[in-house]
């Protein structure tokens, strides 16, 4: 009977061999594919069971992970609440990370960023659980609070920058949402909150400051047109421009009117006064003189068309290509198809205030390890030069006049010289205009530049104008930083 036993042993050997092959197939060749299968709870738990870095503003956490006694091990919470919702974003076990730094700085927060490689190596050797790094933000809580309060229940956005470095001092988008509702560990609650937020009419999940549908800039774009004019060398602050009540657009039978209906300075104005009074006809004429290319080129120098990550991606602002003469006139006053983010408008103000140098906006000031040692400090980076120093000084002076005696008087701060520009952007028949204001202060040596947009005129409705609705908000934000 020994021979059949030996043969049977061979059969059993084959049976075991097939098991070895099958398990190798699953655990070696298929492992990666299995890990990436949708709904693989193990992969999810592996991500969530690591301590994620905190996000700090002025030493206070606006996002942090707390150890909890459930299978996720850590619960993400947002002590900053809705006011910081668009900055932190959310970190949800059902919907992943999104909305802000949670998504765009994910690699840092988890500790997986390539530049942390050597630190992770250290963790491996000391058998420490890898932990994410903490992010210390550039946000000034006073500016953030002022912006938050200023917008109130109105839809819109506020961005404040430090013109010297590009550091983002405030970034608020209304309506806002509470990321705490998405970070809970109760699946039903989270699903409910998610559906509600995504269906809400005001689209609270969209950060209007850097994305969304973008806005027409209205008259704040006149600063760019003025910059193009000054840079061309053919115009000065005192250059004379026609300023009739209505400007007939060539090749059409359409008239471009001034905001108030009247003429500018009796029909003849100069560049400085045109900006001070926000004279549409003068700038429309100027736009046709300069041409689309000059305006587009000037806008590009201020950062239009650039893909920025700060680290959240900023939707590029744009001046349309291929435009005819009447469209040039409309573009010059920020209408037609010019589209901007509030971030871009703040960059324009900041560049003018910073002697023409455009700094790259950034949100993360420092990264710190678990023991709060500084790992990395962001160095301000110059994106380019928007205008030369002389032009910047002229523009600053012109913008000061806007606040001193023009359309932006509501942005005045006692004892501080403020430079600004208002904008009232039409965006469709029968709809109230968006109210814009951009400013920087103190005018000669600015420490803050700000852009404010209030959608559809906000609470002022059809009475809205940038100088009336948005200038006070800009003033409050600047005041919070300069003269607290």
């Amino acid at each position: 009977m020994n021979n059949p036993i030996r043969r049977l042993a061979l059969v059993m050997a084959c049976m075991f061999a097939s098991l070895l092959i099958a398990s190798t197939w699953i655990q070696f060749f298929q492992a990666g594919e299995l890990r990436d299968k949708p709904g693989n709870r193990r992969t999810l738990l592996a991500t969530y069971s690591r301590e994620r870095g905190s996000i700090l503003v002025d030493g206070e956490a606006i996002a942090r992970s707390e150890k909890v006694d459930d299978e996720f091990q850590y619960q993400r919470s947002y002590p900053g609440g809705p006011a910081y919702g668009h900055i932190t974003g959310y970190y949800s076990f059902l919907y992943g990370s999104g909305g802000g730094l949670e998504n765009s700085a994910d690699e840092l927060l988890t500790g997986d960023a390539p530049r942390l490689f050597f630190r992770r190596l250290g963790d491996l050797i000391t058998a420490r659980d890898p932990s994410g790094v903490n992010l210390e933000l550039t946000i000034d809580p006073r500016a953030q609070k002022a912006a938050e309060r200023g917008l109130g229940n109105q839809r819109g956005a506020v961005v404040a920058l430090d013109p010297r470095s590009g550091a983002i001092l405030a970034m608020v988008s209304h309506p806002e949402y509470d990321p705490n509702r998405l970070s809970g560990h109760d699946a039903d609650e989270v699903t409910k909150a998610w559906n509600q937020l995504n269906k809400a009419s005001g689209k609270p999940m969209i950060n209007r400051a850097i994305g969304g549908d973008l806005y027409p800039p209205g008259s704040v774009f006149k600063v760019i047109t003025a910059a193009a004019a000054l840079s061309s060398g053919e115009y000065t602050e005192q250059s004379s421009l026609p300023g009739p009540a209505k400007l007939r657009l060539p090749q059409t039978n359409v008239d471009l009117p001034n905001a108030g209906g009247g003429s500018c300075n009796g029909g003849q104005t100069d560049l400085g006064l045109a900006l001070e009074r926000s004279c549409n006809t003068a700038f429309g004429w100027l736009g046709m003189q300069l041409g689309a290319d000059a305006m587009r080129e000037q806008a590009r120098k201020f950062g239009f068309g650039q893909q920025l990550n700060m680290p959240m991606p900023v939707t590029p602002s744009s001046v349309p290509e291929q435009i005819n003469e009447p469209q040039e006139a409309l573009t010059a006053i920020g209408q037609y198809d010019v589209r901007v983010t509030p971030m871009q408008v703040a960059m324009v103000a900041a560049a003018v205030g910073n002697e023409g140098k455009l700094m790259k906006p950034y949100l993360i000031r420092q990264t710190r390890g678990a023991d709060l040692d500084v790992l990395d400090q962001t160095r301000p980076e110059q994106l380019g030069r928007a205008v030369d120093k002389g032009t910047a000084a002229t523009l600053t002076h012109m913008m000061e006049r806007v606040v001193e005696s023009g359309t932006g008087t509501r942005a005045q701060i006692d004892g501080v010289r403020v430079a600004g520009k208002s904008g009232t952007a039409e965006h469709g028949e029968g709809r109230n205009p968006h109210a814009w204001f951009m400013a920087f202060a103190p005018a000669q040596n600015p420490t803050i530049a700000v852009a404010v947009v209030v959608e559809d005129g906000g609470n002022a409705g059809s009475e809205a104008a940038g100088g009336r609705v948005s200038a006070p908000i800009a003033r409050d934000v600047m005041k919070a930083v300069i003269a607290p």
Binding site: N2, A9, F16, I26, Q27, L34, R35, K37, N40, R41
Partner: protein, 462 residues
């Protein structure tokens, strides 16, 4: 003068003791690793649990010294190591399930009971050939045990399979015991009838066919296994019984034709079952397309096991650091994916090789023993372990459709432990018989007067 020196086989009991201690040490290290990983501290009951395992296995070893000194030295350490690892994993799943869960302590109790029963078998069963006397008794008992779950009020369906019986607070899987009884019956029956089965028969087109009346037993085994499949909805057991019988039939008769007939019957039965029964069709679909939407809508248990194995990769997450509790039946049918996740492919290989080694020692016993009954019994018992491991591991790794069977020694479950320890006891008994020196051989002494060669033989070059 020359003498024929008797080869004295060594008992190897000291090797066994060393290996038993090593097995206990591995289990305790694993237990410690689980405690450190899950709770971040040395588990308080490490010493008591370790002492239990150590005490039981060393006592078993002492019984072997006393009653089966020549038994195979690897069987006990391997069984103890597998049993201990199973305990560790069940304990680990207990920790994951929370304070209420106490599967591990029940498992430890059943392990103790299993080892005590195994020792009793070794003490009471002085010679495995005694079992041959009960050939037909074991058949009757085996069939009763097999069909016991069908008795109303006694049997109980769990997840569709009716393979449990309830006696008071205890539940039991009689099929596990039936497996041993039927193996004993097959061995006894086949050793009696093997000549008739092997030699008598007609040749049809050069293919030797058995006589009709000799075909009877295989048909009975086939029908019995189909009954288990149909009435108890237990794919695993029916495959196990039938495969076991065919293998033993082949070993007894050495005729390939039996395997061909067996395969034919198995294939026919399987196809018939596939056509007739929804649950068989469902299993086949899960096997072929576990990720399809229709499959996932009905059950993701196989898929969860696969994801667990994938998460383990080559080296595993480490004991206590994975999420084996996300798989259903992680402590019973799916304990292999649990190990694969936390110990990785490396750990799974080690466990499979332990089984292979266990089976190999059983087959070596079969080869070494001198009586046909012992050979058949040892082969049958070894093959039943191999087949059971193949069916259950093959099921979770998609080699074959998933069927519900326990993994010997690892899975949670009292009847399974009891049965497998009994199998090891019988194998130990047979191996003692196989390796024991021949009873007092007559000392052969060459007479002094034997003629010495007068001329030296030329040296022969090798």
């Amino acid at each position: 003068m020359s003498t024929v020196t008797q080869f004295v086989p060594r008992t190897r009991r000291n090797v066994e003791l060393l290996l038993v201690l090593l097995a206990c040490a591995i289990v305790m290290v694993a237990y410690l690793a689980v405690g450190l990983a899950v709770n971040g501290q040395v588990p308080l009951d490490l010493i008591t649990q370790g002492a239990w395992l150590l005490g039981l296995t060393v006592a078993f070893h002492v019984v072997l010294r006393w009653r089966a000194a020549y038994a195979d030295p690897l069987l006990l350490p391997i069984a103890a190591l597998l049993n201990g690892l199973g305990l560790v994993m069940i304990h680990r799943l207990d920790l994951a399930k929370g304070t209420e869960s106490a599967m591990a302590s029940r498992q430890l109790m059943w392990s103790a009971l299993g080892m005590v029963v195994a020792c009793l078998v070794l003490v009471l069963l002085r010679d495995h050939r005694q079992l041959r006397r009960y050939t037909y008794t074991t058949m009757a008992a085996g069939l009763v045990f097999l069909l016991l779950p069908l008795v109303p009020f006694l049997g109980r369906s769990v997840y569709g399979a009716r393979i449990w019986i309830n006696i008071g607070p205890f539940s039991f899987q009689p099929g596990e015991i039936a497996k041993i009884l039927l193996t004993i019956f097959f061995a006894g029956y086949l050793v009696q009838t093997r000549d008739a089965l092997a030699l008598v028969g007609r040749s049809v087109l050069g293919f030797p066919l058995p006589r009709g009346r000799d075909l009877g037993p295989i048909l009975i085994a086939w029908i019995a296994s189909l009954l288990v499949l149909v009435l108890e909805r237990d794919l695993g057991s029916s495959l196990l019984f039938f495969g076991l019988f065919v293998a033993m039939l082949y070993v007894a008769t050495e005729r390939i034709s039996w395997i061909a007939i067996g395969m034919l019957l198995f294939g026919g039965g399987a196809y018939l079952a596939y056509l007739l029964f929804d649950h068989v069709q469902q299993r086949v679909m899960f096997w072929l397309n576990p990720w399809s939407e229709t499959a996932l809508a009905q059950s993701d248990q196989l898929v969860r096991g696969l994801m667990g194995m994938g998460a383990g990769g080559i080296l595993g997450t480490g004991l206590g650091s994975g999420h084996p509790y996300l798989t259903y039946f992680a402590e019973s049918d799916f304990i292999i994916p649990s190990f694969a996740e936390e110990l990785g492919l490396a750990g799974l290989f080690a466990i499979l090789l332990l089984y292979a080694l266990l089976v190999e020692r059983g087959l070596r016993t079969a080869l070494g023993t001198r009586d046909g009954f012992g050979k058949l019994l040892a082969t049958g018992l070894s093959f039943s372990i191999a087949l059971q491991v193949f069916v259950v591991v093959g099921g979770v790794t998609r080699v074959i459709p998933l069927t519900g069977l326990t993994t010997p020694f690892l899975s949670q479950g009292g009847s399974s432990l009891l049965a497998n320890w009994t199998i090891v006891a019988i194998l130990l008994r047979i191996s003692d018989h196989a390796r024991r020196p021949m009873p007092a051989p007559v000392k052969v002494t060459m007479p002094d007067s034997a003629p010495t060669p007068t001329t030296p033989r030329p040296a022969v070059k090798p």
